[in-house]
Amino acid sequence: MGGYMHIAVLAKVVPDYEVPAGDFELSDNRAHSRYTRMMGLYDENAIETGVQLKEKYSASLTIISYGAEDDIPVLRKAIAMGAEKLVLVTGQSDDASVIAANLKMAIDNLGDVDLILAGQQSADMDRGVVHGTLAEMLGLTFIPQVSKIESENGGWKISQLTETGSRDLQFNGKGVFSITSIPENVPRIPAVRAIFAAKKKPVEKVAEVESNAMGIEEVSVEIPTMDSVCEFLPVEDVGETVKTLLTKLREERYL
């Protein structure tokens, strides 16, 4: 690595991911436009990780997004958290390959990126494909579900969460890591002053490049119905409540 470290974090603005199923509506196969726009949750974990690495290694930190200009005010939160630069490639494709090709263009333009962080999966597409696709397009190593990163002898020491525990990995070179959530990367809440300062930072806007979409046709998007009817148990006498519950569970052969 050269004199300094340059980290890029990929972030995506999505419709409010906390809207409960009962209030969720589609229009044209996408979330209705009335929901608040916000940064994806894992993307915030990735930004937090990026900011921590910046602080530890005096790195520079650039946020890269592919999406709509209207979402710039939301993306500024990343600046308020501690990034110094924001690049937005304007486009509206949901195709993983198209998104990755455009993010690649933005990264190529920056020229000197050492490490690329992304959220484990976006909070709208539930997919976890873009970052791995991008890594291969860039010819870089991709490691998913990364929880901790340390720079070590010009390479990286990484912890990865797996189904059964965790792994410590090591490699030399540049990489793309998808970031999972751990207590240590719960996103910080930016100070009011930082939020105001972030509003004045310039945003670099780049037009999207043409690229091939994957051979996938979206046939339909539907909202599945949840038709569980909850039987509420009276709670005046807790001893009775729990006995009733256990009896019912056994009668219906769940226990």
């Binding site: 494909v129 791995g132 991709f142 969460l161 525990g165 051979g215 539907e222 909850c230 226990l255």
Partner: protein, 294 residues
């Protein structure tokens, strides 16, 4: 269609992929990851002890190209997540992740918006790479074993320094018939012992929401949901869990959900079969008392 399975040697995970492969072919081929016999019957089998996805990408992409596979199946797991994007990009293949339903002619379904919607796709170009969400397909019984050829891996880029298994006593979470899960409403790590006690008596396992994992009260391996474990127990106890769609995504196939939450408006009650609107600190000790006495 010529189909390849790539998965760690673990009978349930392999079995689910074998079940899915029947939609596309009679007998699939396999790349089995890890040591030991390859359970089940395949046309052709390859094996490698390498399980770090980054090190596997070149060899697997090459194999798909050479053998002209039309469908490639991974589990939606750490390994599958590490392989799907890079392998697809290498081959200009189509990739659909987290698949929960399959229809003829490469029509597949997957969740969107934290599981609040389900999208249906028709894949129009092969090879098609699918990662299959756990617990949505009944695992096939794998009989016998298949002799495997070694899959040659190039000089590894990423090296494994240490592997840590999260300690788990009793029944594995994904196999448990009873799961007792705690959320942010637990208020701290100590009270998880109440859940542990109940799980022990009922020979079940303890789970957690992302809320509880983010707080550091439960290990990440206990997280249930879209990005945690997918479980399908007989009974699922959700204690102090609001029931966000991303959490519900992990319990879609649970037969009976019991919700204990002090907020009657909590979304979990829309999924629950039985609901108790109360402070869990009153309910859980009473439940454990009755269970202990029995």
């Amino acid at each position: 269609m010529k189909t390849l399975i790539v998965e760690i040697i673990e009978p349930k995970r392999l079995g689910e992929l074998v079940t899915v492969s029947k939609e596309f072919c009679d007998t699939p081929d396999i790349v089995a990851l890890g040591a030991g016999d390859v359970p089940g019957v395949y046309n052709k089998a390859w094996q490698t002890e390498e399980t770090i996805s980054a090190n596997l990408v070149p060899a697997i992409a090459e194999l798909i190209q050479k053998e002209e596979y039309q469908v490639v199946l991974f589990s939606a797991s750490t390994v599958g997540a590490g392989l799907a994007g890079p392998v697809a990009a290498k081959l200009s293949a189509s990739v659909v992740s987290e698949v929960i339903g399959i229809e003829p002619d490469l029509v597949v379904r997957r969740p969107m918006y934290g599981g609040k919607a389900v999208a249906t796709y028709k894949i129009t170009a092969t090879p098609a790479i699918l990662t299959i969400r756990r617990k949505y397909f009944e695992p096939a019984e794998l009989e016998g074993t298949t002799a495997a050829e070694t899959l040659t891996i190039a000089e590894p880029l990423v090296s494994l320094i240490a592997e840590k298994q999260e300690k788990s006593e009793g029944v594995p979470l994904e196999d448990a018939e009873v799961v007792v899960s705690g959320g942010r409403g637990m208020g701290g790590p100590d009270n998880f012992s109440m859940l542990q006690e109940m799980a022990e008596i009922l020979k079940g396992a303890v789970g957690a929401s992302r809320g509880a994992v983010d707080e550091g009260w439960a290990a990440p391996t206990l997280q249930i949901g879209q990005t945690g474990k997918i479980v399908a127990p007989g009974v699922y106890f959700a204690v102090g869990i609001s029931g966000a769609s991303q959490h519900l995504a992990g319990i879609a196939n649970a037969k009976c959900v019991v919700a204990i939450n002090k907020d009657e408006e909590a979304n979990i009650f829309k999924r629950a079969r039985f609901g108790i609107i109360a402070d869990y600190k009153k309910i859980m000790p009473a439940l454990n008392n009755v269970l202990r006495e029995e």
